[in-house]
């Protein structure tokens, strides 16, 4: 998937990464890279503005955390974010299933 295509799905991917646990930006980028086995190699600078935007929209909450003398901003899903994630998951699966049907794959 190209970087431009990926940007269109960035919100869904970020929300999904934060579904199970709180992460800071760097850990989230690593999670994306490793979790997708290298398929999602986003420009790192796109992730932080997305995190801030999702927080302003009320889908994420954040707090400062200090580990080993370094302060990091930790992000987690809000209940509104969890609902949004489920809604976007459903939309993505419907879209993906439709594309598979058109392509003739099951």
């Amino acid at each position: 998937m190209s970087r431009e295509e990926l940007k269109g799905h960035l919100d869904l991917i970020v929300l999904a990464c934060l579904a199970e646990r709180e992460l800071h930006g760097y850990a989230l980028i690593e999670e994306l890279r490793l979790g997708s086995r290298g398929a999602f190699d986003l420009p790192e600078g796109t992730v932080y503005p997305a995190l801030h935007r999702l927080e302003r929209a009320g889908l994420l909450a954040s707090r400062w955390s200090s580990t080993a003398g370094r302060r990091r901003r930790m992000y987690r899903l809000t209940s509104k974010g969890r609902s949004a994630l489920e809604e976007r998951r459903r939309a993505w699966r419907a879209f993906s299933a439709g594309v598979d049907l058109v392509l003739g794959e099951t």
Partner: protein, 164 residues
Amino acid sequence: MSVEEYLRELGRRLSVGPVRRRRILRELEAHLLDATAEEERGGRSRQDAERRATERLGSVDDLAARFGARRRSRTTRRLVAISVGVSVAATAAFALPMVLVDSGESHAVSRVARIVCGGENAKQTCVDAVERSCDADSPGTQATIWTPGGPTPAHAWCRKVLRG
């Protein structure tokens, strides 16, 4: 470009308020230090590691633009928030501690947020709440905490954090 140079340039180009700028720079500094350490573990010199870390984050101009891209539409929404905020403040001022964020540009109350400063993590709770309240505000914004009984100890350190 070194990490220090990158952050200095980014700070110059961000078109966001001072509190949000400080948060962005702190957050990205931690990111760049993590990335630098990772590159060093891969065998690069410190100088090369910092250069790689900043390249991975992308150009300063692109990043600054992404952080500032929504300012115009948010300004419109803030005008509505000013009206609502003034009404809510007038109603709730005698009942609960709150944060009033005063815009340095218009000198009008632009946003109201309830805040709880008690408990074990009182300071961090209050700082986080003020930062959240100020994130969307424009350059020059300052925050002041008011309580029904006047300025509180929280008032002093929150002002210090925001200005310092």
